[in-house]
């Protein structure tokens, strides 16, 4: 028994889903997806609108409950855990629709993430502004995503592009084991998008971080991805090296035919 667990601990992938399924009424939004993600890999997840990409993310990070299947992080089942608990174990998530703390400052948004990560206990009677280390770390993250100039601004006053950057900044501040980006450049202008994509490239180069990236733009995927998986009607339709998957019939028909025009 003991030797068995030790063995699985050594051989399991960082994150895996097994027959992961969710039904909304009769509609199967994610259909028995079995897929493993190794540490250090950047996997692009593609598929037409409504294919179930965001729902697949929601199942992994815990925003919705699965109807069937398993999700394991480093070999440990995490499906029964709350969103916060999964986050603490290393599942980090950025959202397709910007999801920030609108009335707080840019710095405070990032500081809160840093506090969640590095501050132990509730901290009832110390002064938040006296935890200089937390503020310094938050400022370093803002520097990295080139939002340092806007640190004092209220988030609701930021442009859409800067809000998207902040969305990415929160995930970077979290420094999780698994980074999940859901269309990080959605709605960004052509000169803003590269900033975010460079950040992701930087993350990828930096260490062996595991990144899941939902993205529509094929040129982006081509340059960044180590691997592509295709979701179609909630099911896993293709999985492999980028060149291979892009050449496959299923992608040509179901996805590329339409998306290539946008590129």
């Amino acid at each position: 028994m003991i030797s068995q667990t030790r063995e699985t601990e050594m051989s399991h992938p960082l994150l895996e889903t097994e027959d992961l399924t969710v039904r909304f009424g009769g509609h199967v939004a994610v259909d028995a997806v079995t897929c493993a993600f190794d540490a250090g890999e950047l996997t692009a997840i593609v598929g037409p609108n409504g294919a179930g990409k965001t729902t697949y993310f929601n199942l992994i990070s815990g925003q919705i409950a699965a109807s069937a299947g398993r999700v394991r992080l480093e070999g440990q089942e995490i499906l029964g855990l709350s969103v916060a608990e999964r986050c603490r174990r290393g599942i980090g998530r950025a959202f397709q629709l910007t999801n920030l703390f609108p009335d707080l400052s840019v710095l405070e948004n990032v500081r809160l993430v840093i506090q969640a990560h590095y501050h132990n206990g509730l901290g009832l009677f110390s002064m938040a502004d006296h935890h200089r280390d937390l503020i310094d770390r938050a400022e370093a993250v803002l520097e990295r995503v080139r939002l340092a100039d806007l640190a004092g601004q209220t988030v609701s006053e930021l442009s859409h592009g800067n809000q998207r950057k902040l969305e990415v900044a929160l995930l970077i501040a979290l420094d999780p084991k698994v980074y999940m980006f859901d269309e990080p450049t959605a709605g960004m202008s052509v000169d803003e998008a590269p900033v975010v994509l460079d950040l992701i490239a930087e993350l990828k180069a930096d260490t062996d971080r595991t990144i899941l990236l939902v993205e529509h733009k094929m040129d982006v995927i081509r340059t960044l991805a180590d691997r592509i998986i295709v979701l179609h009607n909630g099911a896993l339709a293709a999985d492999g090296a980028p060149a291979e998957v892009m050449a496959s019939d299923v992608v040509q028909e179901a996805y590329m035919g339409r998306e290539l025009e946008d590129v």
Binding site: Q63, A84, C87, L100, A116, L122, F125, M127, L170
Partner: protein
């Protein structure tokens, strides 16, 4: 030093700072500045309601949680003191035991309510608190052999805190110094300390998380905060402070009854104080409570006088009659919400 006391939360408006200083000075010097039973009564009530409103704002303004059970927690503290002194005798030990028991009971009850209802929708929590508070109010008036029922309880507190205690033969600074004044300073300093503690809590890492949860609980959870745990802690803390305020009130009044601590009217008063002063700022509670208690105590007189003065005119004396003071308070409330949706403090800070 001042920054440390205020937990770095400066008034951020010159007018607000001036107002706060005036209120502080008036309350600190009340026995000497405004001699007289009635004004001392008013000053003590202001102190206590500042704490009560501030503890409610910790829930409503900082955490976005609507509760109707705040007077119940206030009452628990007050009845704790009443029962403590009734059964344990006239001593400071009995006061402390009663106070502590009341605060613990309040925190425990808040924990239970939070545990059962903070997981689900916010409206559910509001309804549960309403139900529990009504049940407790009924219980208190029914169990008259323990609580004194509708009549409430009168009890004796240590003589040092009563008007009968006269340490000096001559007058001090032009007034007769009695135990009542010692009692007042007990009220004043306890309330001052409790207020500063709450100011610290809302500016602590914990307080910041509460604000984040109020803004976007979904994202707070997604960055790793256990939202229910934070909300429950805030509820317990707020309940415990309300109970302490209740205990102080009970020591001051030497009487508790459903009307002075548990009534739904007081619940509404607290709500108005927080909204008028400005939700989500501790200073709002100071301003709101002060305005409200002053209006409650003096608006009636003022209106009575105005009604007298205008007795020769048609209709106006009717409108200004002292019995109409609640209507005017309502008008004041509507106007203030309309013109200062962020409360007096929000208005002053914005107009910097």
């Amino acid at each position: 030093m001042v920054t440390w006391l205020l937990s770095g939360d400066k008034p951020r408006s010159a007018i607000l700072a001036a107002l706060l200083i005036v209120i502080l000075v008036c309350l600190a010097g009340a026995p000497f500045l405004f001699p007289g039973v009635r004004s001392l009564e008013t000053a003590a009530t202001i102190c206590i309601f500042i704490v009560l409103a501030a503890s409610y704002d910790l829930l409503l303004g900082y955490s976005g949680i609507v509760s109707f059970a705040h007077t119940m927690f206030f009452g628990l503290g007050a009845y704790g003191v009443a029962l403590g002194t009734t059964h344990l005798g006239r001593s400071f030990g009995a006061l402390a035991t009663g106070t502590l028991a009341g605060a613990l009971a309040a925190a425990a009850l808040a924990f239970l309510i939070g545990l059962f209802s903070l997981r689900v929708r916010a409206i559910f929590f509001a309804m549960i608190t309403l139900a529990v508070a009504s049940a407790v109010a009924v219980l208190v008036s029914q169990l008259s052999n323990i609580t004194g029922g509708e009549d409430g309880l009168s009890y004796r507190i240590p003589r040092v805190l009563t008007p009968a205690f006269r340490p000096f033969d001559e007058e001090v600074l032009g007034i007769r110094f009695t135990g009542k004044i010692i009692n007042y300073y007990l009220v004043f300093f306890s309330c001052f300390a409790l207020f500063l503690v709450m100011l610290r809590v809302v500016n602590s890492p914990f307080g910041r998380v509460l604000q984040a949860i109020r803004e976007n609980d979904f994202r707070a959870e997604a960055i790793g905060y256990r939202v229910v745990r934070y909300r429950t802690t805030a509820t317990c803390l707020s309940a415990a402070v309300a109970a302490l305020a209740g205990a102080i009130y009970a020591i001051w009044l030497r009487y508790v009854g459903p009307d002075t601590t548990l009534s739904f009217e007081i619940m509404l008063d607290i709500l108005l104080m927080v909204v008028i002063g400005g939700m989500g700022t501790m200073y709002g509670a100071v301003i709101g409570a002060t305005i409200f208690v002053l209006a409650q105590n003096y608006l009636q007189n003022l209106m009575g006088a105005a009604s007298e003065a205008t007795h020769s005119l048609p209709l106006i004396p009717e409108l200004l009659s002292a019995d109409r003071w609640l209507m005017w308070l309502g008008v004041l409330f509507i106007l203030s919400v309309y013109f200062f949706p962020t409360g007096v403090v929000g208005r002053l800070r914005a107009g910097r």
